[in-house]
Structures are given as structure tokens and as C-alpha cells.
Symmetry: C2
Amino acid sequence: MASAERVTAAVLIIGDEILSGRTQDVNLNAIAKFLAAHGVDLAEARVVPDVHEEIVAAVNALRARYDYLFTTGGIGPTHDDITADGVAAAFGVALHEHPEIMAMLHARWGEDVNAARRRMARVPEGGVLVKNPVQGPPGFQIGNVFVLAGVPQIMRGMLEDIGWRLKGGAVVISRNVRVEGAGEGVIAEPLERVAKANPDLSLGSYPFYTADGYGSNLVIRGRDAAVVEAVVEELVASLKAAGIERVFIPDERAA
Amino acid sequence: MASAERVTAAVLIIGDEILSGRTQDVNLNAIAKFLAAHGVDLAEARVVPDVHEEIVAAVNALRARYDYLFTTGGIGPTHDDITADGVAAAFGVALHEHPEIMAMLHARWGEDVNAARRRMARVPEGGVLVKNPVQGPPGFQIGNVFVLAGVPQIMRGMLEDIGWRLKGGAVVISRNVRVEGAGEGVIAEPLERVAKANPDLSLGSYPFYTADGYGSNLVIRGRDAAVVEAVVEELVASLKAAGIERVFIPDERAA
């Protein structure tokens, strides 16, 4: 699916705790922002439970379809940490104890490298490490798949060792026009008119609801800053011509 | 996949704004908690962009595999609100303007029911409405698929009109044992021993990292309260026997 213009990625969140509602995921949003800054389009995300067959199927579906796949969760030492097994099975390779991780474990724990800690050294054959700058074992990369921790602070730290490995596309520029006190029922027509006149850009409407009634954040996305800026002006004029008064360009100036 | 014991569901989040990193999703967690309270296991979640073919493929994959599917997002009046089209295509039925929604729109807007507002009345043939107690158009149900708003406050309101429609399984009881000042490297062995001795329960370890070092929340889940309670006691004893001192049962008492 790669092209000269568009580089794509998917995220696979592995963990019963997300599906049970126990934990609010924040890793997807962090990876999405990281990828946007690198010019990579996040095209899909999935959440699967700690079940081997589900992990294998999702890894294979997503790594085949997109340029990159990022997984989070399931790389610790406990019996429910089965991500490395799933990724190895998806690639059809064996797991081995990575010598660099074993050396780290011995440096830290000496003789206390028990069976649980050794689990953290298991990496699929052919995998290379992703540094963990916080504490604990590294993640790894195999092919186009990056296998990262689930703890958000550690996951974000690992991203620092990934940016340089990505071929990025053109970075998407995003601008926001905020409408207050008017619902999408009146916004839709001027918005669609501008969208149709500019088919190379993405224009979206993200409504919100407050005690003050409905409003919406209109988002204009494209890869050419001058074009995006011109369309922002065109949209503001179009909204005002439709009788909408409270139109703002947040953090910059009232339109 | 339904059985007398387990009722399953999936969530499909539809929206470019989640994948671009602009918006932090909170609907998955709200639906997960809602389903857990109704005895329904959330088995998978996906996030797809505002692209017709992606929506159709995901709706069909997930509604076939699980007892229920919940979608969020894309049911407003703007040109990028294409969820109803995708769900109708997935079911192979046409869209029509639902007479109850048209009546609501006329009651609210009189002659001002423009083309954009009429878009909000589009429901697949055979769909029944899901009440929106906040403001704006209702959601709908077709077959085993519930189509809900993306604005979190409205999405949560719509769940109030769904619980009575679900056949629930036995509600899962979840208990938490918190370990501080010890990493999974020492927790893993006693945890796995208790997990293997109780194969009918789910035992998970969800590590965290603070300035104080690693710790973990151990979660014991099952459908029989007495059994879950006994395993909590067994796990606490097992952790203490392994030399772990700071073991707590949060919100209840120190273990």
C-alpha cells in the first residue's frame, strides 16, 4: 500500500485490560501524534485480548496491509505476556533469548535472573531491539513491526528510538476552524461546498456539545501549507456568508 | 459465537479524528464498562477512517463474529458522516428517511429542514431507533448492530436505551491486588502458580511505573464471587510467601 506520497501504519493494542474497561488506553493517541509528526498516516487500529490466535491473526492482517505496524502491551515477564510468542508465530520464526537483553538482565540481577525475568529476553529470531530509556526490558522490531511496552510512560520512551527508522511521507498540515453556537445542520452546506471545491484536501467536522448548545471543530488537512491556508480563509468566508457568526481560528486570532 | 455462558461484542470506532491523533477516544472505555456491567464480554475493537469500503468491511467482519457490534461516530449531517451508508451497504439494504426522525426535525425546525438536516434522518431499511436523551438525532439498531453518536456525552446517553435489548451472560466479578515496590520479575512466579491452579479464572498483571519504581495491579476475574474471593486470598498468601511485602487490596483493606 506504500506509494511515493502516502506512508501508512496500523496500531495493534494487546490487552484484556483495555477490553474489560479497567484501563483507558492512551497509547493509540500518543502513537497517532508521533506518526503524524513523521508524515506517516495511521490508517487503522485494533484492540485484541491476550489470546494467542487473535494476536497472530491481527499481526498478519495488519503488517501485510500497511507499511508499518506498532503493537503495545504484553511484553513483560508474566504468564499473560504473550506478544512475543504471537509475533514470532505470525512471522513463522522461533523465539530466542536475545543476548543483549540477557546481558542487561545479568548486569542488573546477577544470579537472580529467574525464569520470569528470562521471559523478558525472548525476541523472535531476526528481531532487533528498540531501546527502553525508562526502566525494564527493550522492545523490538522485526520486519515492519515494532513491538512496544504497554505502560504509557515506557511506550512513549521507546518511540524515541523509532523515528529515525521510518521513511516518512510529506507531513500533513492541519488547521482548525471552530464554530460555536451553531450545529452541523447549518454548517454542513457551506462546509460541503468548500470540500467539493478542494478534493485534494481532507475537511472534517467534529461536533461538540456544551451547556451553550452545539458547535463544531472543522479540520482542514493537506500537505501544502499555502493551499491549506487559502482553504481556511475560503471556509471562514463561506460560513459567515451562511449567516454563522461565531467562527474562530483557535490559538491564533478570531476570524 | 454465542453460548449459554458467554455473550460477546465488538466496538467499531469510525473517525479520522481518532487516527490523526486530534481526538483522544473515550467511547471505547465507556462501552467496555457498560458491557461488563451487563455480562457481555467485549472481545475486540477497531478504529477505521471515514472511508466507505473500510466501514462496510469492518461492520461485516465484526457483526458476523460477535453477538453484538457497537459503532460510534459518523451519524451527523455533514458530508463526512457516512456511517449510515456503510451500515446499510453492509446489510445490503437501502437507506430511507425514518418517519420518526423526520417528524422530530419538522417539530424542531419547521420549514428549516434543509438537506443537511435531512441527512440525519437516514436510517437503513429495517432499522429501529435508539433514543438520544441529550440533543440531536437518535441512533439506530439494525440486526445485532447498534449505531451510536461519536460525541461522548451523547453516546453515553444512548446506552441508556440499549441495556434492555441485550441478552447478558453472567456478570464478571473483578478483584484487584496491588503490589508496590516490586516488579513483575518477582511477581510472575507466584502469580503463574495461582493462575495454573485456577484455570477457570482470568488472572492478569498490569504493571505501572512510578518514581518509586515498578509495581503491578493484579486482576482476578471470574463469575463466582466466592471462588474469586478465595483466589484473592490465595494470591496474597502466595505473594507474601515469595517475600513481597507491599501487597494491598485497594479500597478495602491492606492484605
